[in-house]
Symmetry: C2
Subunit: 199 residues, 2 copies
DNA sequence: AGGGCGGCGTAGACAGTGTCTACAGGGGGT
DNA sequence: ACCCCCTGTAGACACTGTCTACGCCGCCCT
């Protein structure tokens, strides 16, 4: 269990997968292609990942980690709870826009429904749970009535997810016209779920 | 250009694809597997579909047609504009729940970004456009102010899409607990975008 | 009726994939 | 010094989507 100066091959494989999915999209992350980019033979990944899904899960986990980091930074830099939630929302759709391939991979449940990674790690499906909890807390502060925080947060969360996805595909632009602005839509979403800002 | 009593092979291939995606999920719709189910050799589909993507697009189009039919029936059976929009919404998440594999396929843009079907057909990406227009009209009636109908409809649409997707994967249940009810969440979504029912 | 012909489906080849298995090389511990 | 285990290599296997060459059958034309 020694790490050479290049980092263990396990990490290098995940690195290569991340690079690949960022550069070429979620359809290009083949097992052999990752191995090629990491400079090893196609059988090498099998020492560390039992299956292709497991490797992809590790790649997707990196995506969730980056997303969580962005959330943390954005929330820390915002003033009130309402602004924090807004920052949260902006980070979500910005991430989906910038890291399109990674975002796709992160929600391709058919590709990563295995446990995905070594025994100690939490299951990938639960990676966003603490984020949801944090957001529910903030939403509760915004609403005043914490009883409804759960459903409102879920409604807002699903809205952000759908907006990020459909916007990234250009479907919203197709419906609203090319001059549509995502910021305006995002504000409308926030107002709908949290009430207008003046409230 | 004669059709035997079994229907042309083109249709039989799409039928087989639909059956397959409904029965086995969106990951099982291989070109050869479809051909196998249709009882022809693996090269036969190539006469009618230039590529695998084209065949999948035709399969997905069937999904959009069924969805449009469900919309039509539900909207026709509802009373006021608000009830019509609610019926619309219920149909969307119900479809995603019942026809999970088809729903996945319909939004796997990487699998079906080709034109997909013969020359006369409209592009698949625009299949939902008339539905959006119809919904925007209804939303305008609900709101009174038709100026905001576009953004509100887009916000609601994306919310339905995200809810359908995340609910179908069980992500919402993971966040809210297993006793969460999708109907309650759906009502909250409608209230958020259209205002409470009493208004 | 007989002869071509054109469309339809078959069958094989090809490159590529994920998974599995057998094997070589090297370092550390006894 | 020896042995063993760990790590990575290399080949096989079944499978995929695409492409090409080839038969077959029914139709139209003379």
């Amino acid at each position: 269990m020694s790490m050479d100066e290049q980092g263990s091959l396990r990490e290098r494989l995940v690195d290569a997968g991340v690079e690949l999915v960022l550069a070429e999209g979620s359809g290009a992350v083949g097992l052999r292609e990752i191995a090629r980019r990491a400079g090893v033979s196609h059988g090498a990944p099998r020492r560390y990942f039992a299956t292709h899904q497991a490797l992809l899960s590790a790649v997707a986990r990196r995506g969730f980690e980056e997303l969580a980091g962005r959330f943390e930074a954005a929330v820390a830099g915002a003033a009130g709870p309402r602004e924090k939630v807004a920052a949260f929302a902006r980070v979500y759709v910005a991430f989906a826009g910038e890291r399109r391939g990674m975002f796709e991979l992160m929600f391709r449940h058919d590709l990563l429904n295995g446990d995905g990674v070594a025994e100690g790690q939490p299951r990938l499906r639960e990676a966003t749970r603490p984020l949801f909890g944090e957001m529910a807390r903030l939403v509760g502060e915004c609403l005043g009535e914490p009883a409804r925080a759960g459903v409102v947060t879920a409604a807002l969360w699903t809205n952000l997810h759908g907006l990020a996805q459909l916007w990234g595909w250009g479907s919203v632009q197709l419906m609203l016209g090319e001059q549509a602005r995502v910021d305006a839509l995002l504000d409308a979403v926030l107002d709908a779920h949290l009430g207008p800002v003046a409230a």
